[in-house]
Assembly symmetry: D2
Homo-oligomer: 422 residues x 4
């Protein structure tokens, strides 16, 4: 038991330990950064890193922007040195020349980020720091480069092998649950009672990925409903007065909401792994489950209809579902992939387009973005690889016959706009 108790206490301690406020240091932040890069002692390096992280925490946005610009510039790549090291390695490939090449091939910014990460609790701070950087630095090339340095390291630290899938339930710690409420991005959770309805009933599940260095922060989570048959309306699925199903009687697992929690981990994808691992775990737990399917919005639909000048009426279910099917199958980006971002995500994962439902999400958001339409993407575990490969190679969309028929019904009425217009 000692091992675990200690693992726990270490984790707690870690969160705590960054806390104690350090006394003022007369050095400028720039000087602290220079000292950190020069430090040879690990203890000194950690002390400096803590001080920098604490100072960063107290900065306002303008000062943070200055901080990023300084780091981007002062710790930039030395192209000359790299060219030289590369030449030496080519001339005489050895451990020594390769070591020198590796050192020269990355800008000191990356080593700076690594050293900041050595502070207990540092990882979480760096994820927040990158969220700031992305918010403020989108348009500055130097900051884009810095963002890529962050991404490079974070991608390494948050690799799939270190992620832990945890069920989120009504027995989870409240400080985690309040984050689920805050991060739910698709169908807002309005209160603790609402959350309870999503977690407590036997036919509801939720799963999140966590990383050991940020045990209190979910990275991404998915909400699942266990049903009989494939549902076509989110309001029906979440109705307060519905009677819960006995989990053993369910034949379908519906992924009705997936939320990324950390803007600071943008560009590092977890959703694909999450869906597949949850599907695999659920099918082991409940052998009665035969169908794994999403109930997804079509967030680009209304924008596209408006851009194309196509009139529409959310209450005309037949026309609306035809329009949506047409849009999903035919509206493409220049690279040949669908305009719709949710479609790109699930099709890219190897799902197929199973069904289109009009009048399926009558919330304000659902009407404004998706014209009330929702879609089921089917994860057929036996064919997911095949569909993925086909989509990856040709961008061919695998769709059920019903969806194709809906789309062609539309196509007969009015010719589709050319994909190039998307």
């Amino acid at each position: 038991m000692t091992l675990l108790a200690d693992l726990l206490s270490t984790v707690f301690e870690r969160r705590a330990r960054i806390g104690p406020i350090l006394r003022r240091d007369p050095r400028s932040t720039e000087a602290l950064i220079a000292d950190l890069m020069a430090a040879t002692s690990e203890t000194a390096a950690i002390a400096l890193a803590r001080r920098i992280l604490q100072r960063y925490a107290e900065m306002d946005d303008d000062t943070r922007l200055g901080f990023f610009r300084h780091v981007a510039e002062a710790c930039d790549l030395d192209a000359g040195a790299l060219r030289e090291a590369l030449g030496r390695y080519e001339a005489d490939p050895s451990g020594t020349t390769y070591r020198a090449f590796i050192a020269a091939s990355e800008p000191p910014r990356q080593e700076l980020i690594r050293r900041l990460n050595n502070v207990p609790g540092g990882t979480e701070r760096l994820v927040q720091m990158r969220a700031d950087l992305r918010r403020m630095g989108r348009d500055e090339p130097a900051l884009q480069a810095l963002d890529l340095d962050f991404r490079n390291l974070l991608r390494s630290w948050f690799n799939r092998g270190f992620l832990v899938l945890r069920p989120i339930s009504w027995e989870s710690p409240a400080h985690i649950l309040e984050k689920i409420i805050a991060y739910e991005a698709v169908h807002a959770i309005t209160s603790w009672s609402d959350l309870r309805r999503r977690l407590k009933p036997e036919d509801r599940r939720c799963f999140a990925f966590f990383h050991p260095a940020m045990p209190d922060e979910p990275l991404i989570f998915v909400e699942v409903a266990l049903t009989k048959g494939i549902p076509g309306s989110i309001q029906a699925l979440l109705a307060e007065d519905r009677a819960p199903l006995d989990a053993d009687e369910a034949d379908t697992a519906v992924f009705y909401s997936i939320s990324n929690c950390q803007p600071g981990l943008a560009g590092i994808s977890f959703g694909n792994s999450l869906i597949k691992q949850v599907a695999s775990d659920l099918s082991a737990e409940l052998p009665g489950l035969k169908t794994f399917v999403t109930l997804s919005p079509v967030p680009g639909l209304v924008r596209w209809l408006d851009r194309e000048g196509i009139a529409w009426d959310a209450s005309d279910r037949k026309a609306m579902s035809s329009l949506a099917a047409h849009y999903l199958l035919n509206a493409k980006r220049p690279d040949g992939q669908p305009v719709d971002p949710v479609a790109r995500f699930h099709l890219g994962n190897g799902a197929m387009l199973q069904a289109v439902h009009a009048d399926a999400d009558v919330s304000e958001n659902g009407l404004t973005q998706s014209g009330g339409v929702m879609v089921n993407y089917l994860y057929d575990l036996g064919r997911v690889e095949k569909f993925h490969d086909r989509y990856a190679e040709t961008h061919e969309i695998t769709a059920a016959q019903g969806v194709k028929s809906l789309a062609s019904a539309r196509d007969k009425r009015a010719p589709a706009p050319a994909p190039a217009s998307a």
Copy 2:
């Protein structure tokens, strides 16, 4: 409790999951590697990576050497492409050009290793793989480079922020304890009873670093004795019939053995952090502890004496301790650091040379390597930074007056050989 239960089960599952033996695949290992590098689907990539790791596990040494050579060559850096990407980035520094530069700046080998690491249990396999690589590839420049790629990634994954310090006690799981027995490198543990004597008594402690991705494998561990006063003999310290001290009465913590466990993590240093965190944790737990000190071998002493042609007699305590003090203070490498590797380690951590004891380790190993001499390096938590910096800058050794006197006693008798000879 769900969170933890799940964390546990995930960890267990992970170890288990790599297990199931895959059916034969007709593709060659080279083809599998090529397919893995080309894979766009995460699921496909993980399946390929598992297959490669399993195939590796079944290879004999020769085949492994071939495997390493293939990886080193087939996934080598493309210097031309890198030069080009660097040029473009210099000409037009932007997110896009920098992204291309990053991609070109590392050899595909690193991405290969990353993809192998995505397999549950992959990290442990890669650590073992690198141990093989280092054992077999020392003298081949291409394999040295490959080793540096491994080191680069492992250093990132095993960064200090992800390590967990765990006490090892008689209540620890047996499968961990048998590894402690196996890995103890300084003072061999001869049996489970011997282990029990090192762990069970109230005045004995042991701590190890673990990494969440390898929960069953200690990375490094230190054995500690709690004593009254600073001890000068390892046999006395470990005597079977000694009466254990009440932990509250101890004033000194003696680090008498530090063992690295993973040859595959060579070059990634944990010892410094370990000693300092253990010292800090122990002083929080037992406020009576005032002194943190090692009882260390002098493993280079006999070799040096022999090389220098200096006669010696382990039973002449006075002469022997003078010789050892002299050796530690004056025998230097060309770079100005001490010849003795243990001295380099502790002095580099900021410890000072506190005392030298002859007749302190009468084991065969102790006599053969250290002439029976042992040394206390003192970790004075308040001055460790200062000593570290001084040593880092000037290689000046901080030593207690007693040690200096011992050395000069020797120096008066016979002039020291010139450092250059070391």
Copy 3:
């Protein structure tokens, strides 16, 4: 880790296992009880016990009352047999005669309850069952006796040695926290935000006793505020806009609310242990804490004032606190103990009456019962034993000089009513 993982899974499993609904059994409940008492096989006994518990769960109140009456009568003590067994034991005291005496000395009801408890999850059911019994059976002698049988066994199972003190925090599982909201009996928790304010800030703590056989059910909990100095107003203590104190700066721990959670454990006292263990744990964690004190209501005050025909005005702070001090020190029951139940509890634990505050609880409840008055009982860990013994022997109330002065200020104005009238 296996041990713990298993302990956890066992606990979870246990809750689950009572669940599966059994198919109908044609036997009457009376017959099931008879069969259970006659069963020789443990497996058969557990199956019968499960069936009885399940049937009980489905009964309405009237049927439950009938169930209790049947058990009380059908499994009553056999006085004749007991007398005989006692006689035999007196005549020939031996293992054999004593074993027979023990068997005869308790009514079969107790063995019935024991056998029901062998079902996983049975303990929780029996606690609920007793809550029903107490609610419905207060006035029937036979049911009072049955209640004492329950109490006798529950007191044995819930003995102090088996209780586990657990901190309740914002990191506790939501299904535990919703019980804290439901069970808070002194100062109602109105929402999850209100709960968060009681748990999250660094200067707030909460602790509960749990029993391993009912891991999801707190038995009793206490809410604690860490303060500088002794507070005199609950509204000030719980103000939404207060600035939290750094825990290390607190010198006082205020027990401002203690709630029993299980009516089915009435008559089995946990409060005394809880306060003392929490005080001891807190003083170990925060050495700065010097004072352990309650902020308690005076729930009998208004009723007593009305009964005595004493006019009072909650807004006259001086008069009100004099009246309260007088009441606490002088209003006694025939047995010599104070009329006020909260006073009896804390004084009986060895606390002293430290201070009386008027205008201290202006909630409706605070005004209606306590006339707005609150009281600090001081737990002086060094003198708690002495005060307890003094109170136990003589019912002498230890009070601070200030309280005595307040009371005598009142006494001078108007003679106290005779204690006998209380």
Copy 4:
């Protein structure tokens, strides 16, 4: 996580807390007992109980015997008071009279034991105390009665609902494993390597019952081998050089050793529950398991053969197994149950006698007690209830046809001795 962390720390703390050695107290042990029985304060009671337990720990056997005699006498039942209380309850059955009856119906010894149990760590001490009592007090009626008081309370505290089944594996804590080595009573474990062979291979399992108040002490454990087919030799089953079976390929679980660990819990039976829960858990984990069977000694065989004057030769397999079958089926105690204690245990649990093997245990112990014979008792989960009931009512032994034939082969040769002679 807090809940668990705390549960753990509570458990650890508890073990620790009894430790601190109390300063001498001038009172006699008799006076301490009297004070404990008179104590009204829980804190004082716990302090007194700790002191008594500590003093007991320091006593030698003679003093302990005196202690037991004193407790047995000084806290004996007051038969007169009981008779009076019983009379009053009969005359006027009410809560009040019943409460008084309950108080009078048990000797104060039981309350004394309850109060000793309130000390953290007390339960373990009381179990040890009873082991001493049973060892020394077998022949004194007063101590037999005291033993029954202990048993009565321990039976209540160790009821099935509070037991936790835990797998014991090579990953279990060493301090638990060393107890498994020490307590193994059937087939001695000779070393840690031997233990490893019993726990580590995939086809070996071990399970133990624990009680939350004694988390470091297994109560009973069973060792299981997973096999193909039913084995007939313990040496073959435990052979060092055997090739482990893949767990998924096993069709049979063999309970080859069951050891009670706590002599202080004699008369409180755990074996029946253990076997059935393990069988149920294993069959859930490994659906391929179809047969649950023991490989058991016949410990009364040689004694019985000698007493009956029957010559025997362990190397004559045919004759020996006939003799053993005959003995098991026909050698009965006056109460109609088999003479063999292991047979009584398994048949009483509802197992059937499946097979008899000569030359099956050639260890010294196996030859001396069982003439080398071993037996399989089969737990047929679907029929275990029926067999139990049949055995409980009529003592009829259910045996496989093969065993009956063996026995009748013997019977034909020589008529069985009359059961009365057993």
